[in-house]
Each structure stands twice: as structure tokens, then as C-alpha cells.
């Protein structure tokens, strides 16, 4: 080699070295950053692992904040925040009955930023439950569960249950008073099937309640085996399961044609290509990616009401993410996550109350453990799952409340639900129930007739009344769902604000006897 060649090699090295940031960027991304042309914008989304869950173009309806309210995104982002803060907390948390409480206190008081992380984790969990519920309401009231989205609605119901399970197992871990008594009550609710088997007299031969309880807590009483089981559920099992379901949920949204929207635009129902029926491979479409509409590549045929995902959707997502992060951070700066006294197996708090999202259930459980803790939740989950299979009417997808008729059904159902519940609960509080009148009444009668079963009966009556009156499954479903929402709200209110020591009725917390608050 000659000297000049060597000199050339050196300058190539220097040249390339200087260009490293740019070549790295080019290697990282398959397009210009930021993408300029429509085609590049599509490629930016389509060729990126993290973004390719999105279609490259979406209907402008999708980015209208008043339609989705960003609720689904909030669920995802809160879940991500929970994942990150949760993993960080695992560094200090000790899943042992003798160390758990101290380790949580340690995080709170002896770790820099520990209190903040724990607060973010707890408030995001509360936030996620709330937002998941609101998201479900949004999806329901806009009719977005209808074909082809029925399956995704079912997955959504599963996700709701998993969210609640994650929250429950989460607040058990500090092993404080709340945790200990929630474990006890939760385990006994699982065991409350025995109430039914007892009532029909088969417990001696077959006791699924006891089996269930022992499986969950790894014994007959709460202790180390229970804590480690709930820890395992909270940090390994449930997160994996919910991640899979979230993945499927998001994937199905794309596969089912993106977010639901009103069928105002013919293009989306009618194929662009009149030969579709005869086309040799109708399964192979490019429509999914929204690169091209129809089955055959027809370039440049965008309708006016779609917008490119980059940047519109991504900006919206960024905004929602920042909103979630900011809201959780602010909450966590000003309000500390609750931590009660160390678990005390001989004295529960009085009253021993669950977090707000379970207080409606706690109110129901105070009529009958089996009915309130197992039967009503099962009927609710089953009913929610069945909604899209009973309501097959395909009009009004993407229309809030299906228009004015729906709005009037919502109003009437809300009023009916509210008044019937208030009257029923007031009656129960004033006069008691069967057990207070006839102490010897057999449990099977209590299981069959208690305020919780009466509520189900009243709600079913109303559902069929609306169905008969309107002849529309959609309107009947609106009635049933509204009753569910109102029922949840009223029972939660009663459990939260109107129940005091020994679960007695009080108008105000300040009237509670013998207990003073600072």
C-alpha cells in the first residue's frame, strides 16, 4: 500500500467517526426523522416494532377527544406506570409476615423517593380501576361492543376482573390491618360456597368452598403461606396474564377495524373494488394496515376523513401519557398512600372497610356472603359478557347512547335504579331483614331472599319491561347496563359514607360513637 492510500484510510475513519450519530440514526430508523411525505409517515408507523400496533392512517373520528376521552389509552399508560413502579418496589419489599410491614415502612421513610414511588403505585392502581370502569362505560354507551367486536368486549370484561384482582392482591402485601382482614374476608368469601353446600346438606361429602379457600391461602388461617401466594399472584402470575390479555385486546382493536365509529361514511362498508367477490384471494387484504383500502393495491385513494397516524395519533397518545404521569405525580406529591397499623389477628378495625371499589360489594356481602361475594359478581360478569351476544342490532355503532331514545332509557333506568335501591336499602336499615325477625330462619332462605337477590330481581324486571316496551335489545341492554352503573354507584356510596362501626348506618362520620379523627 502506498502512503496516500493509508492517508485515505485515516480520513475515511475520521469521516465515518464524525458521521456516527447520523449513521446510527439511519440504522435505527428506516425513514427520515421526522418523516415528511405521506408515504414516509406511513412507513414510520408500519416499520417500527413499537408503533406497528397502529394502523398507518385512522379515521379523524378516532382522534376526536370527545369520542374516546382517551380512556383506553389511560388504562394502558397507568398499567405501564404500575409495572415500572412495581418493579422498583420489589427491590425493597420483603414478602414475609415478619418483614413485609417493616419493609414498606422502610420504603416510605428510609429510601430516597421511596414514598413517592409507593404513592404513585397506589394511586395509579386506584386510577386504573376507575379508568377501566369509565372506559367500559364509554365502550358500552357508544355501542362499540357490537360485531365484530364482541370477542374484544369479553376480553375487556376479563381485563376488568384482572384489574380488580391485581388491585386486591396489591393492597394485601403491606401486611397491615387492611391487608390482614382483606385476606381473611377474601379467603372466606372463596370459602363461602360452603354456605350453599351447608344449606343443601352436602358439605360432609363435598366441600369445594374449603378446598378453594385452602388453595388460595395455603392453609386454614392467614399466615406466611397466604402472603407468599398473594405476592406470587401480584408480581408474577397476574401481571403475565393481564399483559397477554392487554396484548390481545389491543391487537383485536386493529383487526376489528380500529376504534368504532358511526357508519356515516359508505366507503368503510362498501368495497372499493367491485370485483372483490371474484378476486382470487379475498383473505389477503391490505386494508388492515390502511396502506390501501380494498383488496387490491390502489394507491393514493385516501378519503378525506382519515388522518395519518404520524403525527396525529402519536401526539394524542403522548398528550394522554403526559396527563397520566402528571396527574399521578401531583396526587403522589400531595397525598400519601394509606398504610394502617401492623396486622393484628385478634382485633380488626371497626369498621373494617375495603378500598372504595369493593365497598359496594362489601355492602352486598353484608346481606349474605355467598350471594354478595360469589353469586352477584358471577351474574354481573356473565351478564356483561353476554351483552353483545344478546344485542345483535348493528345500527348506532359509535353513536353515544344510540341517540335520543337511548338517552331517555338511560334517564328512566337511572331513576328507577336509584329509587328502588334507596327504598330497599332504607327498608333494610330501618327494619332489618329476615334474620332479625325470625332468628332461626334457615340459611337457604336467606340465600334465596335477601336484599342482594331482590336487587337482581328488580333489575331483571326492569330489563324485560324495557325490552317489551321498545322491542329493542339495544335499548334493553342500555337499561340493564345503566342499572349496573347506578347499582355500583349507590352501593359504593352507602358502603363508603353511610356505614360506621359494626357496619351500622350513620349519616355522617362525625356521628360515629367513641371514635375520633384528627
Amino acid at each position: 500500500m502506498s502512503t496516500s492510500d493509508k492517508k485515505g484510510a485515516a480520513s475515511v475513519f475520521i469521516e465515518n467517526f464524525k458521521r456516527i450519530p447520523f449513521s446510527f440514526r439511519d440504522a435505527f430508523s428506516r425513514h427520515d426523522i421526522p418523516p415528511e411525505s405521506e408515504r414516509e409517515k406511513a412507513a414510520a408507523v408500519f416499520s417500527n416494532f413499537f408503533l406497528h400496533l397502529h394502523p398507518t392512517r385512522v379515521s379523524s373520528h378516532v382522534v376526536k377527544p370527545t369520542y374516546t376521552l382517551g380512556l383506553g389509552l389511560m388504562c394502558v399508560f397507568l398499567f405501564l406506570i404500575l409495572g415500572v413502579t412495581g418493579v422498583v418496589l420489589m427491590i425493597y419489599y420483603i414478602p414475609h409476615v415478619d418483614g413485609a410491614y417493616a419493609s414498606v415502612k422502610n420504603i416510605r421513610y428510609a429510601v430516597t423517593g421511596g414514598k413517592f414511588v409507593i404513592n404513585v403505585h397506589r394511586w395509579s392502581a386506584h386510577g386504573m380501576v376507575l379508568v377501566v370502569l369509565l372506559h367500559m362505560m364509554r365502550v358500552f354507551y357508544t355501542g362499540s361492543y357490537k360485531a365484530p367486536r364482541e370477542f374484544n368486549w369479553m376480553i375487556g370484561v376479563v381485563l376488568l376482573s384482572l384489574t380488580l384482582a391485581l388491585s386486591f392482591t396489591g393492597y394485601l402485601l403491606p401486611y397491615d390491618q387492611l391487608a390482614y382482614w382483606a385476606m381473611t374476608i377474601g379467603a372466606n368469601i372463596a370459602g363461602s360456597l360452603t354456605e350453599l353446600t351447608d344449606a343443601i346438606g352436602v358439605t360432609k361429602f363435598f366441600d369445594p368452598g374449603k378446598l378453594q379457600k385452602q388453595l388460595i391461602i395455603g392453609g386454614n388461617t392467614i399466615g406466611e403461606p397466604s402472603l407468599i401466594r398473594f405476592y406470587f399472584l401480584h408480581v408474577i402470575f397476574l401481571p403475565i396474564v393481564i399483559s397477554i390479555f392487554i396484548g390481545v385486546h389491543l391487537w383485536r382493536i386493529t383487526k376489528d377495524g380500529g376504534l368504532s365509529k358511526p357508519l356515516d361514511n359508505k366507503q368503510f362498508t362498501e368495497s372499493v373494488n367491485p370485483d372483490d367477490e371474484k378476486s382470487p384471494n379475498p383473505d389477503k387484504t391490505y386494508g388492515l394496515m390502511s396502506l390501501i383500502r380494498g383488496n387490491t393495491p390502489q394507491v393514493g385513494n385516501y378519503s378525506d376523513d382519515t388522518v395519518p397516524t404520524w403525527p396525529n395519533v402519536l401526539l394524542a397518545e403522548g398528550a394522554v401519557f403526559i396527563f397520566c404521569l402528571a396527574a399521578m405525580s401531583l396526587l403522589s406529591l400531595f397525598f400519601d398512600a394509606p398504610l394502617k397499623e401492623l396486622a393484628n389477628p385478634s382485633v380488626p378495625e371497626n369498621p373494617a372497610k375495603a378500598p372504595w371499589y369493593f365497598l359496594g360489594l362489601q355492602e352486598l356481602v353484608s346481606y349474605s356472603a355467598f350471594v354478595g361475594g360469589i353469586l352477584v359478581p358471577s351474574i354481573t360478569v356473565l351478564g356483561l359478557m353476554l351483552i353483545p351476544f344478546l344485542d345483535r342490532e348493528l345500527h348506532d355503532v359509535g353513536v353515544w347512547f344510540s341517540g335520543s331514545k337511548g338517552i331517555s332509557v338511560v334517564k328512566r333506568s337511572a331513576a328507577y335504579g336509584f329509587f328502588s335501591l334507596v327504598v330497599l336499602i332504607a327498608f333494610t336499615i330501618k327494619f332489618g331483614w329476615l334474620r332479625s325477625w325470625f332468628p332461626g330462619v334457615p340459611q337457604i332462605v336467606i340465600i334465596a331472599i335477601n336484599p342482594a337477590t331482590v336487587i337482581i330481581g328488580l333489575f331483571a324486571l326492569w330489563y324485560f319491561k324495557i325490552l317489551k316496551e321498545t322491542g329493542s335489545m339495544r335499548l334493553a341492554s342500555i337499561a340493564a347496563f345503566t342499572l349496573f352503573v347506578i347499582g355500583f354507584a349507590v352501593l359504593t356510596y352507602v358502603g363508603t359514607f353511610l356505614r360506621g362501626p359494626n357496619w351500622e348506618f350513620f349519616w355522617l362520620q362525625s356521628q360515629w360513637p367513641g371514635i375520633h379523627f384528627d
Binding site: 382482614w181 381473611t184 374476608i185 379467603a187 372466606n188 368469601i189 363461602s192 354456605e195 351447608d198 378446598l211 385452602q214 388453595l215 395455603g218 392453609g219 386454614n220 388461617t221 399466615g223 403461606p225 389477628p345 385478634s346 382485633v347 380488626p348 378495625e349 371497626n350 369498621p351 373494617a352 362489601q362 356481602v365 353484608s366 346481606y367 349474605s368 356472603a369 354478595g372 361475594g373 332489618g432 334474620r435 332479625s436 332468628p439 340459611q443 336467606i446 356505614r499 362501626p501 359494626n502 357496619w503 351500622e504
Partner: protein
């Protein structure tokens, strides 16, 4: 097969494979459930000492906090009532009328008989007996009928 027809080898292998798959799956699930259920629970003994009979001279009640048990004595004898609510396992507190549960409002009278609320059963009375060494013992795994007191 059903009609005594012969099936060919391919079908047989297919079916055999298919059924062994499900069988393996079922066995694995059963194994996991069995794995989750310990063979031995590491739990404290159900019977324990109360003390010498001479110690119980005064009438009245005491609570054994760590056992969630209430011991009462009256002229007729000694009796032990469970403090664990039969509804969902909270610990009942004493009220003028008897016992009340802080969790969902079950009420029991002084004998532990359900007087209101969701509790499906009365508070159990546990067996009291004299050990060979002369100690009063309670067995929380054995119940006696309500009202049956142990004469000292």
C-alpha cells in the same frame, strides 16, 4: 371403531396422539392443583391449656387474644365461645346485647346465637376438658352444644 369397523393405522395414531395430548394436559393440571395444596399445614395445635381449675374462682369473662376465644364462668360452670364471626372471619367485639362484628354487622346474643346480620351460623362453643395432668384444656376443633358448661 364404534360399529366394529376397522380403522386404519393413520387414523389410529392420530386419535391416540390426540387423546394422549388431552390426557397429559389433564394430568398436568391435576398435578398443579395437587402441588398447590400442601400435604401438611403448618398450624398451631387446636387444643391448649387454660390453667388450673383453682384459678377460675371468680365469675365473669376473659378473652384469649391470641386464640380469638372468649372464656366465661358463671355459677353453672365454664364455657368457651369462639370470637371468630361465622360470616367471613372477623373478630367480634362485646356489646351490651352480646357480640357484634365490625366487618358486615353480624349480631349475636350473649350465648353466641345469631341475632341479626349476615352470619349463617351461631358462634361455636368449644369443648373444655380436664387433662391428665389436671389442667383445664380447650379444644377448638371440637364443639359442644350451646349451653353445655363445664362444671369445675
Amino acid at each position: 371403531m364404534d360399529d366394529g369397523e376397522k380403522i386404519d393405522r393413520r387414523t389410529f395414531i392420530e386419535k391416540a396422539g390426540f387423546y394422549s395430548f388431552w390426557l397429559t394436559l389433564a394430568a398436568s393440571v391435576a398435578g398443579v392443583v395437587k402441588f398447590l395444596m400442601p400435604d401438611v399445614f403448618d398450624e398451631p395445635s387446636t387444643s391448649f391449656r387454660l390453667g388450673k381449675p383453682e384459678e377460675f374462682t371468680k365469675d365473669g369473662g376473659t378473652r384469649l387474644e391470641d386464640k380469638n376465644l372468649m372464656i366465661f364462668k358463671d355459677p353453672e360452670g365454664l364455657y368457651a365461645i369462639s370470637a371468630i364471626c361465622t360470616h367471613l372471619g372477623c373478630i367480634v367485639g362485646e356489646t351490651p346485647a352480646g357480640f357484634a362484628c365490625p366487618c358486615h354487622g353480624s349480631r349475636f346474643d350473649k350465648q353466641g346465637i345469631v341475632a341479626g346480620g349476615p352470619a349463617p351460623r351461631n358462634l361455636p362453643w368449644f369443648k373444655i376438658y380436664l387433662s391428665p395432668e389436671g389442667y383445664l384444656m380447650v379444644d377448638t376443633a371440637a364443639t359442644v352444644t350451646i349451653g353445655e358448661k363445664f362444671k369445675i
